[in-house]
Amino acid sequence: MKATVPACVCLLLGSLGGCSSVAQSTEHITPRDATLLATHVQPYLDIACASLDCHGAGDRPLRLYSELGRRADNSLRTQPVSNQHDPQPLTAAELEANRQAFAAIELADSTPDRHLALLKPLAASAGGMHHVGGVHYQSKTDPAYLCLRGWLVGDIKQDIGTMCAQANAAVKP
């Protein structure tokens, strides 16, 4: 009977340990995961990449849809976005088109760091290449770089979340 108490304590500690391991999840996502695009990556793309004067322009390579930029159809913007009126959320079809746009510029050798969406906005000093839209990642440890890279290659979900949140905070007006 006396042995029951330590056993209960042991079980309790075991459960807490279980909770702790959930908090430090190492769950990997599949590359270009559709859900993570919508929840974590797209908010960064909305502000940093997909404006109408950049990748929201109709004739731009890697054309992207966004709530504030280009929509797939006129019916998706029936009133101007303002302080009082939020934009309509992106449709599943628009998000899928964005996902496919990234897939389309993946290089044949599929080396993760050689994806054009990582190379072009990266500073030349860090191994990047020319980007008309300027440098967005100063180094390969930039949260925006890690956010996008993690999503493209299928990294640890929790790490991507943290990086994307930092990237979003840095560009939000």
């Binding site: 404006s51 109709g58 006129n74 976005v81 560009v171």
Partner: protein
Amino acid sequence: MDAVMRSGATRGLLGLILVCAASACIGVSPEQRLAQDLGPDTGPYDTGPYHRAGFPCTNCHGDLWWQDHPTFELAGTVYRTPTDDQGQDGAVVSIQDATGKTITAQTNAVGNFFLVNGGTGTFRGSNQGSTVISGALVYPLRVSVKAGSAVQQMRGLIWRERSCANCHDKRLGAGSNGRVFVQESSP
């Protein structure tokens, strides 16, 4: 004699080809085409700070198109409401560039404002819409507009565009958020 005539004809033909080639080179440039595509100005002002309100100013007043001076760092038209055709007089446009430099411009009677980088030029009187700045803007830009107690903060950033109207076309739709305005609707 025949040989002389043939030689003269050949030279003439070569001359014609050269003239055609030269005129092709002198044809309309992409920048000229962009400016021409704006079509005629429907407003009452031929030139000056009040003309072409609502048009993309830097299609002509840009560094790629040298015929219309001055050239603008940033320019646009602010309207009172999204559906109002009358520009907002005296609206304050606040622009913060990537270095943190903040510039405040004021719209003129038709709602136009334009930033001119240094130099000398016309339209520098008060309430003419012109704001002289020193040094180029460093993108991206954060922008807000204010008139009286009404304020609108742009939710996105401007990454490269110099004319508001190239993104804020009056035709609201998939490729435009409509005009730049300060009030949600008419009071």
